[in-house]
C-alpha cells in the first residue's frame, strides 16, 4: 500500500536500540518489543543487526500452525497469532527460518513483528523505522530508500534447497543477489573443525 517497502540495512546499525524502545511503546503490546537487535559476533565485534519479521511470501510459521492462527493479510503482512486460536505450541518458533516469532508464556500467545500494519495501512512508517537514527531500518518508496546507498536490496534467501522470498528487503553489497545461508555453517564445531554429532559429514562438503 502507498508503494512503500521496508528495508533493513544491517551495515548501518549502530546498536542504539532506539527501535526496541519505540517498538515496545506500541499500545498493542506495550512494554514488549517485537524487534530484536542482535550482536553478530560479540567476542570479536561490536557489530549489531536489527531483526524484524521478513513477512515471507509463503510464511512457514503460518504453514506449520496447527491451529490456523497465523494469517497473512492482503497487504502481505504476516500478523501475530490470533488470540482466540493460538495454542502456544511453538511450532512457528521452531519453523521460522529467521527466528522471529516468540511465544509468550503468560498470555499463551505467539507475538511477532507485524510491520505496524495499523500504521503502515494509513501511510505512516512503522515505529522502528520512524526512530532509527542511521536508517538501518527504513520504510518508504523504493527509489527514495536506495538513494545514496552503496548497498542493493534483495529479498531472496536460500536455506539449503529451500528458497524463501520475503516482503521485507535486506540491503546487501551489490554483488549479492540472493542470500545463501547454510545453517550447518553456523553450528558449533570441535576445535579441529570436525562435527562428530553430524551423522552425514559428507553432506557438509
Amino acid at each position: 500500500m502507498f508503494g512503500n517497502e521496508f528495508y533493513v540495512d544491517p551495515s548501518r546499525c549502530i546498536g542504539c536500540r532506539a527501535c526496541v524502545a519505540a517498538c515496545s511503546e506500541c499500545d498493542s503490546h506495550r512494554g514488549q518489543s517485537m524487534i530484536y537487535v542482535d550482536y553478530l559476533d560479540r567476542q570479536n565485534s561490536i557489530a549489531t543487526a536489527p531483526m524484524v519479521c521478513m513477512h515471507c511470501d509463503e510464511p512457514t510459521c503460518a504453514l506449520v500452525c496447527p491451529a490456523d492462527a497465523i494469517k497473512k493479510g492482503e497487504d502481505g503482512v504476516v500478523r501475530s497469532a490470533l488470540k482466540p486460536r493460538c495454542i502456544a505450541c511453538s511450532n512457528c518458533v521452531l519453523a521460522c527460518p529467521f527466528g522471529v516469532p516468540m511465544v509468550h508464556i503468560k498470555p499463551e500467545l505467539m507475538m511477532k513483528c507485524d510491520m505496524c500494519y495499523d500504521r503502515t495501512s494509513v501511510g505512516l512508517r512503522p515505529m522502528c523505522a520512524t526512530v532509527c537514527p542511521s536508517q538501518a531500518l527504513s520504510f518508504g518508496p523504493p527509489d527514495e530508500v536506495r538513494k545514496g546507498r552503496a548497498t542493493t536490496p534483495i529479498n531472496e534467501f536460500s536455506f539449503g534447497r529451500e528458497l524463501v522470498r520475503t516482503k521485507v528487503f535486506i540491503m546487501l553489497p551489490p554483488e549479492e543477489t540472493v542470500l545463501d545461508i547454510d545453517v550447518q555453517d553456523y553450528m558449533w564445531r570441535d576445535t579441529d573443525g570436525s562435527a562428530p554429532w553430524l551423522l552425514e559429514e559428507t553432506f557438509m562438503d
Binding site: 510464511p59 497473512k72 492482503e74
Partner: protein
Amino acid sequence: MEAPPGSSKKPLWTEEFSVHAADDRYVLRRQFTKFLTLTSFGMLVGNGWIYVKSLLDARTRGAALPRAVIASSAEVPVGGVKLFRYPTPQDPCILVRSAGAQLVAYSQKCTHLSCAVVYSSENHRLECPCHQGYFSIQTGRVLQGPPPRPLPRIVIEERDGQIFATGIQIQEEGA
C-alpha cells in the same frame, strides 16, 4: 510437507487452511441468525404440515374399510399362523389361532421400527426379532421392549368356514 516430485498440485489442506486472511470464511452473526431463523421457520412449517396431514388422515380413517376374505378356517388350525395383507397390499398382517382357540389378527409391523413380528407358540406371544419387543397375543399390548404403542388390531369375523377382515382397531397406549 513438500509435495512429491512430479506433482505440482498443492495439498488440500493449504486450501482448507489457507494462510491468507482473505480466504478465511467466517460465519457472521447476522448469517448465523438468518440460518437459525430460517431453519426454525422451516421446522414450524414442517410440523404444521405433519399436523394437517394427520387431520386429513383422521378424516379418511373413519371411512369403512373393505370387507375382505383372508383365509378359510381350515387353513388356520389351533397354533397355526397365516400371513395376509389388509387393507392394502402394503400392509402386512398376521393371523393367529392361539392355543385358547381364540382367533386374532394384528398388523405385522412392529410399532417401534416396523420390523415384522412373528408368533412364538412356546411363549404364546408376538415377538419382534429386531429389538426383542414382545406383544401380548390376546390384546396386542406391549409386554416388553422398545415399542411405544400396541399393535393395531385387525377386526376379523369367522363365518361359514371363511375368515373375513372387516376393519382396523388402532389401540392407544395403555389400552
